[in-house]
């Protein structure tokens, strides 16, 4: 874990010591759940989550399957 970063997760401000997106998911309690992610508007595939490093001000989306029309 590194320095504290201010990021935005699903529209809400969050403080994290995670260095990567994968670490952020574990820190927030998403470990093992069926979610997909995006960082600053771009999709981040599952296989790249542990290599994508976070920066202060990053906007993260964490989504899961939902009802739709």
């Amino acid at each position: 874990m590194g320095a504290v970063l201010e990021v935005v997760v699903n529209g809400a401000q969050a403080r994290t010591r995670a260095r990567t997106l994968a670490e952020l998911l574990v820190e927030l309690g998403y470990g093992g759940t069926k979610v997909a992610t995006a960082r600053n508007g771009d999709f981040v595939p599952l296989r790249k989550r542990d290599t994508v490093e976070l920066s202060g001000g990053d906007t993260i989306e964490i989504v899961s399957p939902r009802q739709g029309g």
Binding site: T37, I62, V63, P65, R66
Partner: protein, 279 residues
């Protein structure tokens, strides 16, 4: 207008009886009704409605998930148990970029390259942003997606979407959630006649089974709806009604309907009418 369109009579598109199946992106479908999964009173009612409608494809979405919210997992387990194909949408996206990222997230979550691309232009009408739709579709087709584009009756947009690699189109019936039926039958008929060989699925605005039957009688290949079933007094019964209406409309199209006339024509034989000479 091209000669093709001017010469195209509805019955020229009619398949031979017994050889009528819908194929989308190489996949044969038994049902011509696509059903949305949102707004049902409960997951149990959704499950029973899907079965009552007899559909092969349901639409789904992706939405933000809280760390302690297991709603996504529960919904995925419900859908997985239904044994139907899923068609993820990009509902709510306002730009091509949002739609592209949403489609990519949906492909990973649902493990399908099918995606219903929606790029919304206006809050009140929820009408498609055709420019954003073409832009998103062009990128997504290059990325290997099989795009189901939510569009209008616009012929120019249709041409661009097909040129981008779409193998089908999903024109709106009326704005999403209105239940108004086919708001512009003339434009829909033009689209149908202009692209006789392209699968066309009427999506959105369908409120009653008769609307769905009308679309099928006009030669559209399938119908996609959600609210009309989910918000019915009895969604399961309404799902069954829509399934029957779509089958009836399709059968009527295949059978070939009579021509509409302005003047009356007696159906009972005139020859041999009693007292005929006395008139």
């Amino acid at each position: 207008m091209t000669d093709t369109m001017a010469n195209m009579k509805p019955d020229a598109r009619r398949p031979a009886v017994g050889r009528d199946s819908l194929e989308v992106y190489g996949t044969g479908l038994g049902s011509r009704l696509f059903l949305g999964t949102a707004q049902y009173p409960s997951p149990q009612v959704l499950e029973r409605a899907v079965k009552a409608a007899g559909v092969d494809v349901v639409t789904v979405s992706v939405r933000r998930e809280g760390a302690r919210d297991k709603g996504g997992q529960r919904f995925w387990e419900l859908i997985s148990g239904l044994g139907v194909r899923v068609l993820p949408n990009t509902a709510g996206c306002r730009t091509a970029r949002e739609a592209i990222a949403t489609a990519e997230m949906a492909r990973e979550l649902f493990d399908t390259d099918w995606v219903k691309v929606e790029v919304i232009a206006n809050d009140d009408t929820l009408q498609p942003d055709l420019f954003g739709l073409v832009e998103a579709t062009t990128t997504l087709v290059r990325e290997g997606f099989k795009v189901f584009p939510y569009t209008t009756e616009d012929l120019g947009a249709a041409e661009r979407l097909l040129a981008a690699g779409c193998q089908l189109l999903m024109p709106w019936g009326a704005p999403i959630g209105t239940g108004r039926g086919l708001a512009n039958p003339y434009a829909l008929r033009t689209l149908r006649n202009y692209f006789p060989g392209v699968p066309l699925i009427v999506d959105a605005g369908i409120g009653a089974p008769s609307h769905a039957a009308q679309a099928m009688e006009m030669g559209f290949d399938a119908v996609l709806l959600n609210t009309a079933v989910a918000k019915a007094g009895d969604p399961v019964a309404m799902a069954e009604a829509f399934g029957a209406a779509v089958r009836a409309g399709r059968t009527a199209f295949v059978a070939g309907m009579m021509e509409v006339r302005d003047m009356a024509a007696p159906s009972t034989p005139v020859a041999g009418t009693p007292f005929f000479d006395l008139k």
